[in-house]
Subunit: 244 residues, 2 copies
Amino acid sequence: MAQNVYDNPDFFSGYSKLPRQVLGLDGAPEWPAIEAMLPGLVGKDVADLGCGFGWASRWLREHGAASVVGYDLSENMIARAKADTAGTGIEYHLADLDVLELPEARFDLVYSALTFHYVEDFDRLARTIHRGLRHDGDLVFTIEHPIFMAARHPHWISDEDGRKTWPVNGYSIEGERRTDWFTKGVVKYHRTLATTLNSLIQVGFTLSEIKEFAPSQDQIVALPDLAEELERPMMLLLSFHKAS
Amino acid sequence: MAQNVYDNPDFFSGYSKLPRQVLGLDGAPEWPAIEAMLPGLVGKDVADLGCGFGWASRWLREHGAASVVGYDLSENMIARAKADTAGTGIEYHLADLDVLELPEARFDLVYSALTFHYVEDFDRLARTIHRGLRHDGDLVFTIEHPIFMAARHPHWISDEDGRKTWPVNGYSIEGERRTDWFTKGVVKYHRTLATTLNSLIQVGFTLSEIKEFAPSQDQIVALPDLAEELERPMMLLLSFHKAS
C-alpha cells in the first residue's frame, strides 16, 4: 500500500497551488517534450495512471482519444478531477498503483506523469501495464530522475566556482527516500535508471525514446529560473512500445 | 580527428600501470557484469573498438569467437597488443573511431570498453557500427557514465554528514570535457544518457540491457575502496541488438 500524502490537508493545500496544478499542462515546462513523444491518439483507449486533477486525461480526450480512464490514489484528486476535468469518454477511479489490476488488452496507450516514483513494486506494475496494453500499444511516462532523487540531502550546493551543483550519493542503493515537500516525510522509491529500463524491457517492452528534461532556450528566456535545470535533470521522460 | 593522448609518453607510462592494464580483465571490477551481457560467442566474427592492449580481444577469441579484429587509435597500444595478445584469428589495426569505416555486415558482435567517450561524432559511429553488423548482431559496450563526466570539477566532495558525494552540473550541456588524468587536458565528450541511447535507437538498434556498474558485496569485501562506487556510477554498460 503506497503512502497517500495527497490526502494530507497540509500537503494538498500546498500542492494545489503549484503552477502545474493551477495552470494545468501549460504550467509544466516538460509538457511540450512529452507531447512530442505521444503516439497518434485518434480512436485510442488510454489509461492515465496517477491522473491527479485530470489535466492530461482531458487533454488526451480532447486530442483524439476515444476514451480515457484516470486512476489516482487520492480521494481529493479524484474529487477535483470529477469536478474540473470530467466529460464524455472520461472516467476517474480511485486506485493504488501498488495493487492496481487492469483488464487484459484494454488500452492502446498508458500515460503517467510523475507518479511511478511513489510505487514500491515497479516490476509488478510493469507487468500489469504490459498485460493491460493491446499489441502495438505504447507506454509514455515521466518520473523524477534518479540523479535528482538519489542523495540523502537532495538540494542545490555550490562547486568551488560558485556554480549551482547537485549532489549525488547512494545512487546504487535503491529503495525508500523520505523528503520534506509541503509536509514531512514524503515517501518515494529510488530506482536506478538501469533498473527502471530493464524492468520494462524484461516484461516485453521496447524502448522507443528517452529524454532527460532540459528547458529550451526560449523557455529559459521566458522563465529564467529554469536555467538551473540544465545543471542536472529533474525529470526522466520515457516512451516504450509493446510489439505487435 | 580524436585527440591521441595514449601516444603521449607521460600518459602512456601512467596508464600502463593501471591494474586493468597490468592484470587485464581481472583488474577490471566491471568485467563480470560485462561478461554476463555478452551473447554466445561460438563462431562469431567480432570487432573490438578501442582494443588497447588487446586483453578483451584475446578473451573473446579464446571463448569461441571465430575471429576478432581489434582497432585502436594509439600506435603504442597496437604495438603492445601485437606483442602481448596476438594469435591466430586475431588482427590489430590502427584506426580513429571518428573516421573509421567498417565493411558492411562484416561482424556478429561489436564490443568496446571505455572508448566511445573519446569519440566526438557518436551519431556517425552508431551508423558505422549498425552497418558493419550482420542482422541479429549485437553491440556491447561500456563508457564513462555521464553522471561521472558531466561536472566542471569531477571529484569527490562531502555532504553535510561527511558522506562521499559526487557533484553534478552542466549535465544537459553536451560536448568537450577536459580533465587531467596522467597528463593535462585529456579531451572527452560528454553526452547525456538519453543522447547515447537515442542515437543508437535511431539508427535501428534495440536496447537489450543497461547496467550502471556497482560492485557486488563480495567485490567490496575483497577491495573495500570499491564501496565508493555505490555512491555514484562511474561506468555505463550497454547491450543493443540489431534486429534480424
